[in-house]
């Protein structure tokens, strides 16, 4: 027979946990409101920067204009064929756990993007021909190119991938290579980890990628719930500097897009280089000339960092709102579950108690009968 005292103790501990989850739910809720307001106030600014960028870029297309950050896809391919530059990924996740699958969803998407080898369908949210998701497009464009002499990092990556896929296929008796894609994602695959640099926002992201041997050049902790523009600017400065010096040739941002309180989807966005080919659609209906004061090069030099910092800041805000809403959901589920558990334990407790009483009555009756 279960001990009454044990059950009582268990009910108490479940109730205590419930109090904690409930408090965390409420904290997350109030912080979420602040984060959502911050996000909503940022949205028009981001949209307008994007609009201007798109308009200017569509003007750029086809013009004799050289800028280190703006390339046509052909130039990009040529550069990557000979290039020794690395790929940089900015991963934005959370500092703390207890937010359901928030962080692990980001990591899953990050691994999908970082270790993309062209075998999977793109999972990105928007593919409407603007500047959102070029990493995979750029990579798909590279697939058709045969390595000339030196191998590019991405082609090296592909080689490694095929290598392990082949190994796995041999092991599993030549199954469809598509099913073995996960084998390509051996985290300690030194060959391509070498060609990758990471900037992480959030303690969870840092720990996750450090454990897997990635080269983290910078990490930000303690800002995931309340992002500030200055950190986005710092990241931008670092990224622009490394890009300008040729150390990195591709910058991709991975974050969680906040769509609604119940839907937060990981997304990846290419920040650099800006590939003009993808503005083709937009340029078709825009023919007007622009006046640039003082001139287009110095203006773009100033505008581009702004655009990138804005996107990083926007992504941080999206991520913060997503994190808090995930935590809210996780914690309110936990509170509900605790409630249910307490109910069940109470029922069990009463049953046991009643069984004890019945037992005692039986014993008394039995004892009385024995005396007669």
């Amino acid at each position: 027979m279960a001990n009454l005292q044990h059950i009582r103790r268990r009910i108490k501990s479940v109730k205590n946990i419930q109090k904690i989850t409930n408090a965390m739910d409420m904290i997350a809720r109030s912080r979420f409101n602040a984060a959502r307001d911050a996000l909503l106030s940022n949205v028009p600014y981001v949209a307008k920067t994007k609009e201007i960028m798109r308009r200017v870029m569509s003007q750029m297309r086809g013009q004799e204009y050289e800028h280190p950050f703006i390339k046509t896809r052909d130039e990009l391919i040529a550069e990557q064929q000979e290039g020794a530059g690395k790929f940089l990924f900015i991963v934005i996740a959370s500092d703390k756990g207890l937010a359901g699958s928030f962080a692990s969803n980001v990591f899953k998407s990050a691994h999908d993007t970082i270790e993309y080898d062209g075998t999977e369908a793109s999972t990105s949210l928007d593919d409407d021909g603007d500047d959102e998701n070029f990493h995979k497009k750029n990579f798909d464009a590279l697939k058709g190119i045969k390595p000339a002499g030196k191998r590019t990092p991405k082609q090296q990556r592909q080689m490694t991938a095929t290598g392990s896929v082949a190994k796995a296929a041999a092991r599993q008796g030549g199954a469809d290579s598509r099913t073995n894609v996960s084998v390509a994602r051996e985290y300690n695959d030194a060959a391509y980890i070498d060609g990758i640099e990471l900037i992480t926002v959030g303690r969870k992201a840092t720990t996750h990628f450090k454990q897997r041997g990635y080269n983290i050049i910078k990490s930000y902790h303690g800002i995931s719930e309340r992002p500030q523009y200055k950190y986005a600017k710092e990241i931008t400065d670092l990224v622009m500097e490394r890009f300008a010096s040729g150390e990195i040739i591709d910058v991709t941002l991975i974050y969680t897009q906040f769509k609604s309180a119940i839907s937060c989807v990981p997304d990846d966005v290419t920040l650099l280089p800006i590939v003009t080919d993808d503005y083709a659609k937009a340029s078709a209906n825009l023919k007007e000339e622009y006046i640039y004061e003082p001139d287009v090069v110095s203006l773009l030099d100033k505008f581009m960092p702004r655009r990138i910092a804005t996107r990083i800041y926007g992504a941080m805000l999206h991520s913060a709102a997503s994190e808090l809403s995930s935590r809210m959901n996780a914690m309110s589920n936990a509170t509900d579950n605790a409630q249910e558990l307490v109910g069940r334990l109470n029922l069990f407790y009463n049953k046991v108690r009643q069984a004890g009483i019945t037992n005692e009555i039986n014993e008394i009756v039995g004892g009385a009968n024995a005396l007669e």
């Binding site: 307008k48 004061e293 505008f303 702004r306």
Partner: protein, 142 residues
């Protein structure tokens, strides 16, 4: 009277200003600009200043702490680091900021060697911002 839509957005306050106006007088890094409806397409960078907006016969001022301006024939979009309407500006705070920045700039100008710790670009930017803020409130400083 012809009008043009003016929209001012900042990263953390969203859309600060959105109205049909008659004329905008603003200051870019190359000089003062007057924008009227049906202006040609233009993209330029703005410096910290008090922007003058003419609408319906009156004139309002708006503080802009630098940013970018895009003009199309029927719309002006300003992306500012910060933008404040007169009611949002704290005169006392702006005055003390002005004094602080002014002291630093004068000290540096008198003897640049003795004040190497002063970041003159930052001090001058702060001075320009404080000046512009006060101007929006109608307070003129030297």
């Amino acid at each position: 009277m012809a009008t043009i839509l003016l929209e001012v957005a900042t990263p953390d306050k969203g859309e600060v200003y959105a109205k049909d106006i008659n004329m905008l007088i603003t200051r870019s890094i190359v000089g003062e600009l007057g924008i009227l409806p049906k202006h040609a397409n233009l993209l330029t960078e703005l410096i910290p200043h008090a922007m003058r907006i003419k609408e319906g016969g009156g004139e309002t001022k708006l503080f802009i702490s630098g940013g970018f301006m895009e003009v199309t024939p029927d719309k002006i979009t300003i992306l500012a680091d910060a933008a404040e309407i007169p009611d949002d500006i704290d005169v006392e705070r702006a005055k003390s900021a002005y004094q602080r920045a002014n002291e630093r700039v004068t000290a540096y100008k008198q003897s640049p060697k003795a004040h190497e710790d002063i970041d003159i670009d930052r001090a001058e930017a702060a001075l320009a911002r404080a000046k512009a803020r006060l101007l929006v409130k109608g307070v003129h400083m030297g």
